[in-house]
């Protein structure tokens, strides 16, 4: 991972260091706060990120005990087109998302308005407010928690990878050779377990901050009630004449990025660079496209735009049916004879 510091980053370092002492207690309070009933969101000021990777290391340390411990050899899959996804020998890959790395820092160099920016962007699950991974999981393994975090239960997930297919950012990553499928129909159904950031559920349950937030020397991240985080993001964007990602994406997320460079530009630059992990171990990982494991920054509309309309139809339908039945029954009674079919 490149750890070079840009001019912006150095400036931000000083600013970050200056507020670090003042900011910490407020952040700690916010971390424990989910009783208010509002979902928690995180704000990432990527102008402050220096790409030091402390957050990645902290994530690894905090969650190591939850990483997959696959049994080998893996069951032979049927049909053979179903490939195993094995990251157990590449667990230290840290330049993309893997089942052993739920957070990585994407380093993007981009020219904006005549200035070269070196942007470092911590990427992990966006924790969508209406997450397709959880809504469409056929099995209930993926779910949204009250605090707005989206989690996948490793004891329940069968590794079918549907969550990854419906996630606009391909966030969840599969490890073969673990989980419930081994006890069910290992050859014919499932293929492991999907892993991703769950916003440090165990730490949050203890009233602690997510590890990546706590470890960051630059205070890149803040966590708090979504409405407050949105207000802060907007104020920050206005202040730096910057741009916001995550407010509308995928119908809204609980991860909000503020950047001094437009996200379209970051996406163009990002898409050109392949991660090193994508080049080695050919055929070993299930999906290894050039940008696999490196979430995009494209504009993503709401996947459930028509959901409300369809849901309303589903809820109204039985009532309409009952009414129609009642009217018909009434007519029959009035005309004095019943019938059946």
């Amino acid at each position: 991972m490149s750890r070079k510091k840009s001019t912006i980053s150095r400036r931000s370092f000083l600013r970050g260091a200056a507020i670090a002492g003042v900011g910490a207690p407020a952040l700690a309070r916010a971390g424990a706060q989910d009783a208010k009933g509002e979902e928690l969101a995180t704000l990432l000021d990527i102008s402050k990120c220096v790409g030091c990777g402390a957050c990645v290391v902290a994530c690894g340390e905090a969650n190591e005990s939850r990483y997959p411990k696959p049994e080998k050899p893996f069951p032979e899959m049927f049909p053979p087109r179903v490939k195993v996804a094995d990251w157990s020998d590449d667990r230290y890959v840290d330049d993309r998302l893997t089942p052993y790395n739920w957070l990585f820092v994407d380093n993007i160099t981009v020219n904006h308005e005549g200035t070269e920016h070196e942007i470092h962007m911590p990427r992990r699950c966006m924790h969508c407010t209406n997450p397709p991974c959880a809504n469409l999981c056929p099995w209930g393994a993926a779910a949204k928690k009250d605090d707005g975090a989206v989690v996948i239960d490793p004891d329940v997930c069968l590794g079918g990878s549907k969550c990854k297919s419906v996630c606009p950012w391909d966030i969840p990553q599969r490890q073969t050779g673990v989980g419930l499928y081994l006890d069910l129909l290992p050859r014919f159904a499932g293929n492991g377990v999907m892993f991703k950031c769950d916003r440090c559920q165990p730490r949050m349950a203890e009233g602690k901050l997510p590890a990546c937030i706590e470890a960051c020397p630059m205070q890149v991240q803040q966590i708090g009630p979504r409405s407050e985080i949105i207000a802060k993001a907007k104020a920050l964007a206005a202040e730096m004449n910057g741009y916001i990602y995550g407010l509308e994406e995928n119908g809204g997320t609980n991860t909000i990025y503020v950047s001094p460079v437009p996200f379209e530009k970051l996406e163009q630059a990002r898409a050109k660079v392949a991660p090193s992990a994508g080049k080695k171990g050919k055929g070993k990982h299930a999906s290894k496209g050039k940008n696999s494991g490196r979430p995009n920054l494209t504009q993503v509309g709401s996947p459930f735009e028509k959901e409300d309309m369809f849901a309303a139809a589903v809820f109204t339908a039985p009532v309409a049916g009952l009414a129609a039945g009642a009217i018909r029954l009434l007519r029959k009674t009035q005309s004095g004879h019943g019938e059946d079919s």
């Binding site: 049909p79 087109r81 179903v82 407010t129 209406n130 397709p132 959880a134 809504n135 469409l136 056929p138 099995w139 209930g140 393994a141 779910a143 949204k144 928690k145 009250d146 989690v151 239960d153 329940v156 079918g160 990878s161 549907k162 297919s165 419906v166 159904a189 119908g251 996947p303 459930f304 028509k306 959901e307 409300d308 369809f310 849901a311 139809a313 589903v314 809820f315 109204t316 339908a317 039985p318 009532v319 309409a320 049916g321 009952l322 009414a323 129609a324 039945g325 009642a326 018909r328 029954l329 019943g338 059946d340 079919s341």
Partner: protein
Amino acid sequence: MRTRTLLFALLMAAMAISGFGQMPIFKRYYIADIPGMAWTADYYFTHMMHYAGGAILLALLGYAAVRLFAAAGRVTLSGWLRIGLWALIAVTGLARVTKNLPDMHLGPELTMAVDVTHLAAVMLLGLTALMARLLGRGEYLRVEE
């Protein structure tokens, strides 16, 4: 009468395909590779298809419920069994739709219970209907006279 039965069979087929399509099986087992069948692996499409079919089915069930209410005394044993399963399917289906609404979420355990019950009730209904038909007890209502 014939057309009605055919339409109902088509509706049930659409519900079954779009329902099972919620599991990642059609691509894995090459169904989506058959020309013209790619949509079976489009989760968003099958999701909406299941909703649209669900709305029609729920309207029919509501309608049937009133009529059964009027004829409750004549419902056969296998009829009651299937009515119970229909009710279970409807209730769990509605619970799932509720869960999928923006700003609504059931806990993981409840979600799984709802999903598994929905699927199990569908399979049981299919089995019961098949058995009832094979045993010549396909009617919901005892025919009087």
